[in-house]
């Protein structure tokens, strides 16, 4: 599918997989892939299928958003044999120009521009290239790709990766006239896999993706039928801005690599040019602390010197990084997304102002859906998102989960056993957006528990919770009122009938009058006062059994 810049690995957050790959240039990509399946999302056959769809869909959504196109995605999964599937993923993105097709889909490029930070959907390590490689390694079949940028031609070709030389090989390249001026990418893969429709499934992933991206139209043609996720808004979120890293958030390894590849002539201009919030005097302070000469060539800095530099960068007082680089889902879109996929009675969404952890800007959003057809029994469902991508695995070790469990949900009218998820017909959506999502592990499925992050998530939940609480209370009140009315309405005919028997007066007018009184509701007393008695019969012994029977 459309690679965003048509060049190299996605520039985004955690590069762990590629970091490792950097040191493995000598061995084949196939061997690299085998050794790092767990980092790449291919550790088992069912997860592999989900990962492939994820890579495709994330890539397409990023491409469409970059190009300002309302996404139209189609995912087809067809079962060919017991463990053999064909997956076709198609989008209406900007497509890929002919010159860059091989690189976009085939070559694993390592060591790209790490030092530019921009919020984007995280990739499972190798992105779409990993999916192509997985297909090739399990079935030996090439990927079939169609793409056009909307010009006169549609390109169709097959692509294999030369796993020894790490080179894409394009074959059977044909072109066809593009009368409809179609643009986009379609990738067809044949893979070995296991298809499930349980919790961690393509279904669930697409449903949650549809919630986070209500401006996307997604059609899923799976082995068990077609599912459509409709577009309910034409508003797309604002475009995320690219920013330079802030010194507080940089890791030593990346700093070293940045210095090796920078075009800056000396360390001082390197600091000022490649980092945000570093001016001349800040750079001088950092260098003085690190005991480094300003004129040193960045490439000449030894590792122990780099370590000193890294430490000094953390010690100097700097302005927090700019936060306008974050693109939140926005409250409107979250509510929109929840309403679209969940039948509830109440929806609320909160977008927090941006904040900063370790020099990295981030923004937290929370959405709640309550009541309606949501399951009233059992724990609430938690939908975690990082940069609009649903996180389906490792829920228990995620900062989002921790924050949700730390909130006292009883204050908002829900049940909760201590330190657990709230119980009730509730879906909790938490979106964490950042230029650098601190995933806990290679799998990129759980967010690290930074106190700043947990605090912000909790504040957002509490804000949303207060809205929920008034709804829950008013709902409960009206339900109780209704039950009360029904109670009196059940008794009224019997009372009226008894009064008729007692007095000989017609029951009908009595019944009508009592019913009118129920409707007026003014007289109804709710306190369970035991008939205004102060004392119960506790002083009375078993005496009554005999005496009064």
């Amino acid at each position: 599918m459309a690679a965003k810049d048509g060049l190299g690995a996605p520039i985004s957050d955690n590069m762990t997989a590629e970091d490792i790959a950097l040191n493995m240039k000598e061995i084949s990509v196939a061997e690299f892939f085998e050794k790092n399946r767990h980092l790449l999302g291919y550790e088992n056959s069912s997860k592999a299928m989900l990962t492939i769809v994820k890579e495709g869909v994330d890539n397409s959504l990023d491409a469409c958003e970059d190009a300002g196109i309302l996404p139209e995605l189609k995912v087809t999964v067809k079962q060919l044999g017991i463990d053999r599937f064909r997956i076709i993923m198609e989008d209406n993105g900007p497509g890929v120009v002919e010159a860059k097709m091989a690189l976009a889909f085939g070559k694993m490029l390592f060591g790209s521009k790490f030092h530019r930070l921009k919020q984007s959907r995280g990739k499972q390590g190798l992105g779409i290239r990993g999916a192509i490689l997985y297909a090739q390694l399990t079935t030996g079949k090439p990927a079939k790709i169609r793409t056009s940028t909307g010009d006169a031609k549609v390109h169709e070709f097959e692509l294999l990766i030369d796993t020894v030389r790490n080179e894409p090989k394009i074959s059977a390249h044909t072109t066809a006239p593009n009368k409809e001026r179609w643009h986009g990418v379609s990738i067809e893969l044949e893979i070995e896999g296991v298809y499930v429709e349980r919790a961690q499934s393509i279904h669930e992933y697409l449903k949650r993706t549809a919630i986070a991206n209500p401006y996307a139209h997604i059609i899923y043609n799976g082995p068990n039928g077609v599912l459509k996720y409709e577009r309910t808004t034409n508003t797309m979120p604002k475009h995320p801005k690219e920013i330079k890293p802030h010194p507080y958030g940089i890791e030593l390894g990346i700093l070293i690599r940045m210095m090796a590849t920078t075009r800056s002539q000396n360390v001082r201009s390197f600091l000022m040019g490649e980092f945000s919030r570093v001016g001349g005097s800040s750079a001088d302070q950092i260098l003085a602390l690190a005991k480094l000469e300003a004129g040193r060539k960045p490439a000449s800095i030894a590792n122990d010197e780099a370590e000193r530099l890294h430490k000094s960068m953390q010690m100097v007082k700097l302005i927090a990084p700019p936060t306008d680089c974050i693109s939140p889902m926005t409250e409107t879109l979250i509510e929109n997304g929840l309403k679209k996929e969940l039948e509830a009675d109440f929806y609320v969404a909160i977008t927090r102002p941006p904040s900063v952890y370790r020099g990295n800007p981030f923004q937290v959003e929370v959405g709640l859906a309550y009541g309606g057809k949501l399951n009233p029994q059992g724990a609430a469902e938690l939908y975690r998102f990082a940069n609009k991508v649903p996180l389906l695995y490792h829920q228990s070790s995620c900062a989002i989960t921790k924050a949700v469990e730390e909130v006292d949900w009883k204050r908002y009218g829900l049940q909760q056993s201590s330190g657990g998820m709230p119980v009730g017909p509730l879906v909790v959506l938490v979106h964490f957006a950042s230029v650098w999502v601190p995933f806990t592990s290679e799998g990129k499925e759980a967010i690290a528990e930074y106190p700043e992050i947990i605090k912000d998530i909790k504040l957002a939940i509490q804000d949303a919770g207060r809205n929920l609480a008034s709804f829950v209370r008013s709902q409960r009140k009206s339900r109780e009122g209704q039950m009360r009315r029904q109670l009196f309405e059940r008794y009224i005919p019997v009372v009226a009938e008894s009064l008729e028997k007692l007095t000989g007066k017609d029951h009908a007018p009595i019944e009508m009058k009592l019913e009118a009184m129920v409707k007026a509701g003014k007289l109804i007393i709710v306190e369970p006062a035991e008939e205004t008695k102060t004392e119960t019969k506790k002083a009375e012994p078993a005496e009554d059994e005999g005496a009064d029977e």
């Binding site: 369970p528 005999g546 005496a547 009064d548």
Partner: protein, 359 residues
């Protein structure tokens, strides 16, 4: 007692409710409270009576509504009984009124234990006896003695009914006494002791009437004791287990009960005396081997009773305190430990001769 007849009272109760409905007020039924806080003990007349505290049962109160409905049902049921000249009992009434409410799974009454107290509510609220509502009370208690009565036209001699004696009916208003030849009445809590005394011809030897209450005295039994005592000036001696339960049986016979305090003047026998057993008896008659350890509930009950105004006599305070201290109870059967005829031949004669009674 009844200025108006029972049917009129029931009709008025219904009309009062309808008046409130017409006035758009919360319909209510006012019921005197039958608990210790509203029980007045009159030391002069030696009887319990009910105070003027009442509770209001409102229809438009979530906690009262169902009971309100049940009360109107029972009242209507009784009115129809009176009109139809039918007598029945509490169990039949329960089955007659129990049904499932329309469009629900809720029953008018689930258990008889729900309908029984409603009858007492109406009795107290309208100051009536359930017999007047055509509801029979429990039939319990038997009597033997040199007494002839007329009951529904039949002449019955209590001394000529074999081993069983005469079963006391729930209503004894209508019976008339033809001849009563006795010096006192002995009321016995337990059937076994009654049968022992009957077989041993105690009532013939001592020229008395013996009555067993078979546990807590039923109303018919209480009313009969009162009538005999009042109409023939007979002393009444009550013979119960030495434990709080037995002593309370005595106090109900003598002073009346809390739940029927409004009827004490008809049911209480203020001149009754307590003959035994007592904790003091255990030592005096060598019954220690045959005692039972008092349970926590017995101790608690004894402590409660020590506070009742009608148990303030020093003799009773002493017995209650002894029980709390020694934690010992004795049943009437304990006397059999001393020999099967010990009770007939030694214990009771000695007590009566020495006038060894508790007030």
């Amino acid at each position: 007692m009844a200025e108006r007849n029972p049917k009129e009272k029931l009709v008025k109760m219904g009309n009062d409710i309808i008046k409130e409905v017409d006035a758009k007020e919360n319909p209510k039924i006012e019921i005197p409270i039958r608990s210790l806080s509203n029980i007045i003990y009159n030391d002069k007349s030696k009887s319990l009576s009910i105070g003027d505290k009442t509770s209001k049962r409102f229809f438009f109160n979530v906690a009262h509504a169902k009971k309100f409905m049940q009360t109107t049902m029972v009242a209507a049921f009784c009115k129809e009984l009176i009109e139809g000249k039918i007598h029945t009992n509490l169990r039949d009434m329960f089955y007659n009124l129990k049904r499932t409410l329309k469009d629900s799974e809720e029953n008018t009454f689930d258990e008889q234990s729900e309908s029984d107290p409603i009858v007492v509510d109406i009795e107290v609220a309208l100051d009536m006896l359930r017999e007047q509502l055509h509801l029979g009370a429990d039939v319990r208690g038997r009597v033997v003695g040199n007494v002839s009565i007329v009951d529904r036209g039949d002449v019955v001699n209590w001394g000529k009914l074999g081993s069983g004696g005469w079963a006391i009916p729930s209503i004894v208003e209508e019976i008339t006494f033809k001849s009563v030849d006795a010096k006192f009445i002995l009321v016995i809590e337990k059937n076994a002791a009654f049968e022992r005394l009957h077989e041993d011809k105690f009532w013939q030897k001592h020229n008395c009437i013996i009555i067993t209450t078979q546990g807590q005295a039923a109303r018919g039994c209480r009313r009969l004791i009162q009538r005999l005592s009042a109409e023939f000036k007979l002393p009444v001696y009550v013979f119960c287990d030495s434990d709080p339960y037995g002593w309370y049986i005595y106090s109900v016979i003598k002073f009346g009960s809390m739940s029927l305090a409004h009827q004490s003047d008809r049911l209480g026998t203020p001149n009754a005396r307590y003959i035994g057993l007592t904790v003091s008896d255990i030592e005096e008659f060598g019954l220690d081997k045959f005692t039972i350890r008092a349970k926590d509930v017995d101790i608690k009950r004894a402590k409660d009773m020590m506070k009742y105004e009608w148990f303030q006599a020093p003799e009773w305070q002493k017995e209650l305190k002894l029980l709390v201290d020694k934690k010992k109870k004795a049943e009437l059967e304990a006397l059999s430990g001393r020999g099967l005829r010990f009770m007939t031949e030694e214990y009771l004669p000695k007590k009566i001769k020495n006038k060894d009674f508790l007030p």
